[in-house]
Symmetry: C2
Subunit: 451 residues, 2 copies
């Protein structure tokens, strides 16, 4: 388990700091009970780079592996967008008691945890003042630090501040929630750039006497949500946070975990926080915070914080299947397929051309592309590729990209309207009519969405 260290005026119970993360990670990789685990990680990272999920570069893939935001390639970007979209829908959709908010990345609130920083442009004038003694210089810089803003390390504080205006929106009735997603920052060892993480946050305000039940409720909901997109749902699990690991203001905690080849990591962390922080944020003015429930109680706060960069990594890891395939002329080969859930897969369909008059076949593809784009089915225009590639090689590439279906337009299509559709998951090729292909794809994705 990784421990997070929030370096600043810290109100949380001191947690073990993140000690030389790289080393810990390497150790974990080496001590992994099977060399197979290490291989699997290498294969996965190589695939991510080769197939446009993550941009190349040692430091970049390292960030990715640690569950931090990195430079994503187009497919990684789209996967993360899909995941964030699904998170948003799941949290703001059904209950209608969760509202989206947007707060600022940096704030001057000295009470909050955060990554306090000083702009160089504010430091320089002080350094240039020749007449200052050393003590005066130190004094001035310390004053600057005290007045300096902090980059947020999480969304909780923003939500607590938005509690009072939101209370009017819900007519002072509990429970309700505030949701936000975006970048949060973490200090990193060394003087490098601060780490960034794409976080999701639901802050749930509920009556004190039901806060424990609500923690259980959200814990179950979140685990169910992660599992619904998984090829191997059992790799996602939840566990209560042991008492010694509780955050200072938390009475209970739960984590949604993913079992990576190197060990378990938390994807979402839930805390039952009582009303301490809410009162602190609003300076103890109880009347502002009381809700309509007969008892004029101050709500309890449940925070549900997710790391979507790690989520992307989890689904990529979970979806990667390495299957042996027999080649009659060659030795056993490994076929790699990224069996991403239809709703998450960044590319739903690839369009390619077979034998026939290239110009005419391409026109057909252009038409289909337009049709798919209008139906918001993300398409890979394989037909634009001029390098000659065998169907075998294309299938390998598309399987590794996680493309759900490959559609091949051929001379036959020009004559009869029939085309070949190959499924990623079954590898079965079916013949369909060009007029039904879009509906087929739409229904396939919707069906997976509604399960």
């Amino acid at each position: 388990m990784l421990y997070y260290c929030v370096r600043n005026v810290c109100k949380l119970k001191p947690s073990p700091c993140r000690v030389t993360l790289a080393l810990q990670h390497t150790r974990r990789l080496c001590s992994s009970s099977s060399g197979e685990g290490v291989d699997r990680v290498k294969t996965l990272l190589q695939l991510c780079v080769d197939r446009y999920y993550v941009s190349p570069g040692q430091s970049n893939t390292e960030l990715f592996q640690r569950g931090m935001s990195c430079c994503y390639g187009p497919l990684g970007m789209e996967l993360r967008r899909n995941l964030l979209q699904q998170w948003w829908l799941s949290v703001t959709g059904p209950t209608q008691q969760v509202f989206g908010i947007n707060t600022l990345s940096s704030s001057k609130d000295t009470a909050t945890d955060g990554l306090r920083f000083v702009e160089s442009e504010h430091l320089k004038p002080i350094l240039e003042q020749q007449e200052l003694s050393k003590e005066q210089l130190v004094q001035k810089i310390q004053t600057l630090i005290q007045r300096s803003p902090s980059l947020r390390t999480g969304f909780l504080q923003g939500a607590l501040e938005q509690f009072v205006p939101s209370l009017e929106l819900v007519n002072r009735k509990l429970p309700f929630g505030l949701a936000e997603t975006g970048l949060c920052f973490q200090p990193r060892d060394g003087s490098g750039c601060p780490a960034e993480v794409t976080q999701t946050s639901l802050v749930w305000f509920c009556p004190p006497r039901t806060s424990s039940q609500w923690l259980d409720h959200w814990s179950r909901q979140r685990l169910k949500w992660w599992r619904q997109f998984a090829l191997s749902p059992s790799e996602f699990s939840s566990s209560d946070v042991p008492e010694q690991e509780l955050e200072e203001s938390a009475t209970r905690g739960a984590r949604i975990l993913y079992s990576f080849p190197w060990g378990q990591e938390p994807l979402e962390t839930l805390w039952s926080r009582g009303s301490t922080e809410l009162l602190q944020t609003h300076k103890g003015v109880r009347t502002k915070l009381q809700c309509r429930d007969g008892r004029k109680s101050i709500p309890h706060v449940i925070s549900v914080t997710g790391n979507m960069d790690r989520g992307v990594m989890a689904f990529l890891s979970n979806s990667l299947q390495q299957l042996k395939k027999e080649e009659s002329k060659q030795k056993m080969l490994q076929r790699k397929v990224l069996k991403l859930h239809p709703v998450l897969a960044p590319v739903k369909v690839a369009l390619d051309i077979g034998r026939g008059t290239t110009v005419e076949l391409r026109q057909v593809c252009e038409g289909l592309l337009q049709e798919f784009m209008e139906a918001k089915i993300s398409t890979w225009p394989g037909y634009l590729e001029t390098k000659p590639t065998s169907m075998e090689q294309l299938n390998t590439k598309y399987d590794e990209m996680g493309v759900l279906f490959t559609v091949v337009i051929s001379e036959n299509t020009l004559e009869s309207g029939l085309l070949q559709v190959r499924s990623r998951d079954t590898t079965i090729k079916e013949t369909k009519h060009i007029s039904e292909i879009k509906n087929f794809l739409s229904r396939y994705i919707s069906a997976a969405d509604n399960i």
Copy 2:
């Protein structure tokens, strides 16, 4: 026109700095040729706060008015999400030659413009070193500054760095583009928090000989895009950037402008940048950058940068209609309607109950709510409101929120399945059957989307 000041090792031609912005703004407001302009702004800002677009607070609404990210309320958040989604679809959709990327918010690249900052935790140990002389202290801090990271002020640099891996993706063929959206930072006067802006960026790589045509192309496309959502399209215009205002590396520039009550502000800025910065980023290694076009040319770069926070403000301003309505018993009143485009409107439909058995009517509403949620039609559950409100008051509220349709479930619905649907734009009430209402709404929104 506002001028932006990027304070740092700046490669841009020095632009007039952003002088005490607040004062400039106030001056502009006061010198507005009609007091009506000032009134309109006040009315708009008040509506934004009352109707959950922007969180209350003087400094917050000020940020919003300046086209910077602020604390949005739930409706403002949803509007911005819709706008960003539409931008993304318009740019990555039709051509299929634009790929989404994700780069990091902070980087250590000393060559780039950015908001250079030092973490307080790195400063403190230096300040505490008692044995250092003043000169040594200054020296150490300056070294720290030189090695410190910068928060990005734009997405250009990230895209230029991603050019080489992306070139493989497109088989070294031009033109193609890289798109990214997210937060960018700007220094602010005083020692306050840096300003944040939700930026959109398309960086387009094209052959040198067609770069001027591409600038025109994108300029036209972008203006058309902004106008398609506008109630008064003429308030959106475009203009070429005069020569004296060109950025250092730019040969041509264009701006998409919105005519706010206080004057024109740029929503999107396009620059034709040549290949200078691309070569600089890749350290002059021409072979890495050459594309397949017979001439082995280095591409030219066109940057299209948008400010979506200002975009939200523009559409709110553009959509607000203040109409006189006659009240037979009272004097003329002003009816305020936020005529947001159906695709952008954060709440599509409000569900309310009329006369009848509350419990049963609410059940009908719950069923409709589920139906709407599944069809991804954002709904306001007015029926949950227990405070007695007249239909008149509800209509006023929903009109100011920009809700497209109000659906009222009454006793009649329980008997005959018929319900009342009121349109925001026409105020006409129609009777429809409960079974057709969802399709009616879906088709209304799709129709507006496809124009």
